[in-house]
Symmetry: C2
């Protein structure tokens, strides 16, 4: 679909995918599934140790029951109407974004908000937004996220202002011409360096980077290449490799079942962001790899030392676009969306005021003024992300929560595996990967995210580890 | 599976395919399908013109009923037992071939023969081999094929002896080093030259060339590249393009139904062989394309004129291997297999005598002595093809029948489209492709192969057009 599809094959492939998804949904919700689940009884009726079900079978029962319950509570008509509305909404969003025309998308957004509210209602949530969050992050409500995010917003905002008070970095060498062929060759070396298992996965090219699992031994990742943006391809490869290693790492006894899955969206992001940012944007990582990178781009990187490269790829510079954001401002982009989508779902934020409030918050969080007359004011503003057009309200928080989980996991990792910086500098990632496998991957989605975090770290979700990390790293001029 | 699969993903992908095939089989054979077919009645009960069913709907009913009848007549246990035996047999064949050990494969071959006989019996054929042929070539029995093949065997045998009496060609320049990158680049040019629609298809690399249809706008082909064998990649691309053009050419009103399919295996081969051999191995074709080929391999082809190139890629030289065979000996390889598999299925040929009879016929048809002590005597002999290990008895004749259909179609094409040689030399293939589309592709599998041939040419299947073509082309020294 995204890598090798002949251009005219798109519509047919979409139909084929819809058919398979419909069949999977039908099978999950058919009476026989309900009958079997009824026969097994609830997890509570199957206490561990009674010999009737193994521990894995009990978890399988819990996860399957959760999926079944969510699916059967939605009437068939509602599901197919929603799918159709979503198709129209995505197309309208793409056109509206191209034409910088929020008004053209507004009626579709209204429809998608209505669908989201009804969905949460069918699922029986009194607070609709909690119901939507539960899809992506089981067991975590808007109140808890709001508390975490309010601390993040304040501390990251303060950090950003502190950084903006310093002299700007000279990262101009990153905006040279980096031929695609050399980037592709280097990304292959990067896979080898990371120990990405190419017997069980591969790297392809697509317009948006992603990781996808076609089987436990067939986990594929993609990146994209721009001649004038070397970091884009590199860090996408590291990020998606983090997702892929998680997917490849589920234990054999979970394979082929719904338990061979990430614990949640945020836990998945914790893995990709841990590799991309905590490891991949660290100085030791590039101390190990930079000579190879310089070998691939001898002219472009002539005279650029590893520390200057490190600082350039970590430059914190607020911009309008979430996917291009640095580690400091990234979570602020998420918080902005979290606040807005909560208002949209509750109805407290009137839909026609959305672009205006977006601009206000952009000014407040990033100090950037969006001129409503700018021909990209909506395209780079309220229309920049696909999520709302798909009705995926409640998804955004996962990205920022992933940073929090990731740092709590990383602190525990550091306490159990000695000299992480040395291992990273020498490209010896096996002890790190083994630890992640034995402590996180091994569970698949047998544990809810909060349970997993507690099992691994003994803690609840906290902002401090992430904030200490980011406040220790920035401002960057502490390095050199 | 064959192009981009990570090596360790093979087993899982095979399971996934088996699951989908099983689901498709289950849906075809479920009682609801029988009920709907019963409600519609037979084609005879739905005469054309009664307004109940359109012409296409009547053909759809006929083809679906044929598929349904074939499928439901096989007991479920037999189908799954056969699938398992086939898996074991293929694995045993691959090992036996590697070890040149027919004896190790013999019990599996015996099982597959038993399965094939039972299958024909379930289908109600008194002559089991006719039942197997009917899968690939509806309406054509062993007697008719035997009659055609006996003429072919005699005339092609005589032609081969005549050619062997001449001075051998000097085709040594084809056995130089042709770097893979240049071959790949040239194959892309070849696609453009042929007018292969890259909006609706693409070329990849695999260990055995094939064409596969993932959708009417997603028809993919593969080729393989050997440094020391330039013709292999080129003619595989042309051959598979012939298959792909057929698949891309079904009319929109048949898309998504079982009627968007080739009329038979042999008709499909008629299209691929027409492009590969009649067009692709003609002198005019290379008069048009050779300058580009020379541009891709200036050193290797220095001093080699187009006529010498033409003769070299058409060299008729009997060898042991079917897939490497020239146009003259190819059909003899097929006839040998046809005769042997008939004997195997009827029981007239004892299984343990197979290698011996294979050697006798190889001596008789090609003048090649296989030494039973040779370490590749079985591997390059009776074990060389995968077909029997899969239980695909009755498949081989399609290849030779394709040559016959192809030439009858081509003669008709020549009578309706002027100056084919000129068009081919100028790379103007549109009139040829339009004719094939309007006369052959347009029918999908609405007509049985014999009906299609009669509709297009007004004739029954005959050997003369092919024999006249091949006896006109060979011996090659008539050119120059």
């Amino acid at each position: 679909m995204e890598t090798n599809l002949p251009p005219q094959g798109v519509d047919e492939r979409a139909e084929q995918l819809a058919l398979l998804q419909g069949m999977a949904h039908q099978r999950l919700t058919e009476p026989e599934t309900g009958r079997l689940l009824g026969e097994l009884g609830s997890t509570a009726e199957n206490p561990s140790g009674d010999g009737k079900l193994s521990a894995i079978e009990r978890d399988f029962l819990r996860v399957t029951r959760r999926r079944y319950d969510k699916a059967v509570k939605l009437p068939q008509d509602f599901v197919s109407d929603s799918a159709r509305a979503e198709g129209l909404s995505q197309a309208a969003w793409a056109a509206a974004r191209m034409n910088n025309d929020f008004a053209a998308f507004l009626p579709h957004l209204e429809t998608m908000i209505g669908i989201a509210r009804r969905k949460a209602d069918y699922w029986g949530f009194s607070n609709p937004y909690d119901g939507l969050l539960d899809v992506y992050e089981p067991g975590m409500g808007a109140a808890e996220i709001g508390t975490l995010f309010s601390v993040l917003r304040e501390r990251l905002g303060a950090l950003l202002r502190k950084i903006q008070g310093r002299d700007p970095l000279d990262s101009s060498f990153l905006r040279q011409d980096f031929p695609l062929r050399n980037q592709k060759r280097f990304c292959q070396k990067l896979l080898v360096h990371l120990g990405f298992d190419q017997q069980r996965g591969r790297l392809d090219t697509s317009s948006h980077p992603f990781a996808t699992t076609l089987g436990s031994h067939d986990v594929r990742i993609t990146t994209r290449y721009s001649r004038d943006n070397l970091p884009s391809s590199l860090f996408s490869v590291i990020h998606e490799s983090g997702h892929a290693m998680y997917e490849m790492g589920f234990p054999p006894e979970l394979r082929g079942s719904c338990l061979a899955d990430g614990a949640s969206m945020a836990i998945h992001e914790s893995q990709s962001r841990l590799w991309e940012n905590v490891i991949g944007r660290s100085l030791p990582f590039w101390e190990g790899l930079y000579p190879q990178l310089k070998g691939s781009f001898p002219d472009q990187l002539a005279g650029v030392g590893v520390e200057r490269f490190y600082r350039a790829v970590n430059e914190a510079k607020p911009s309008l676009i979430r996917v291009d954001a640095d580690e400091v401002s990234y979570s602020l982009h998420i918080i902005l969306r979290f606040e807005l989508e909560q208002g949209l779902i509750s109805g407290e934020l009137a839909l026609d005021r959305l672009p205006e409030v977006w601009r206000e918050k952009t000014k407040e969080y990033f100090g950037i003024e969006i001129d409503p007359a700018d021909p990209r004011s909506d395209a780079d503003g309220v229309l920049q992300d696909i999520h709302w057009s798909m009705g995926a309200f409640g998804y955004f928080p996962s990205y920022a929560l992933g940073n929090l989980y990731g740092l709590q996991f990383f602190r525990k990792l550091e306490s159990e595996v000695l000299d992480i910086a040395g291992l990273v500098a020498r490209g010896q990632f096996s002890p790190i990967k083994d630890w992640l496998r034995d402590n996180i991957y091994v569970w698949g989605c047998r544990l809810e995210p909060g349970q997993l975090l507690e099992k691994v770290t003994g803690e609840k979700l906290r902002v401090e580890p992430f904030l200490e990390y980011i406040e220790g790293k920035y401002p960057l001029d502490t390095v050199s």
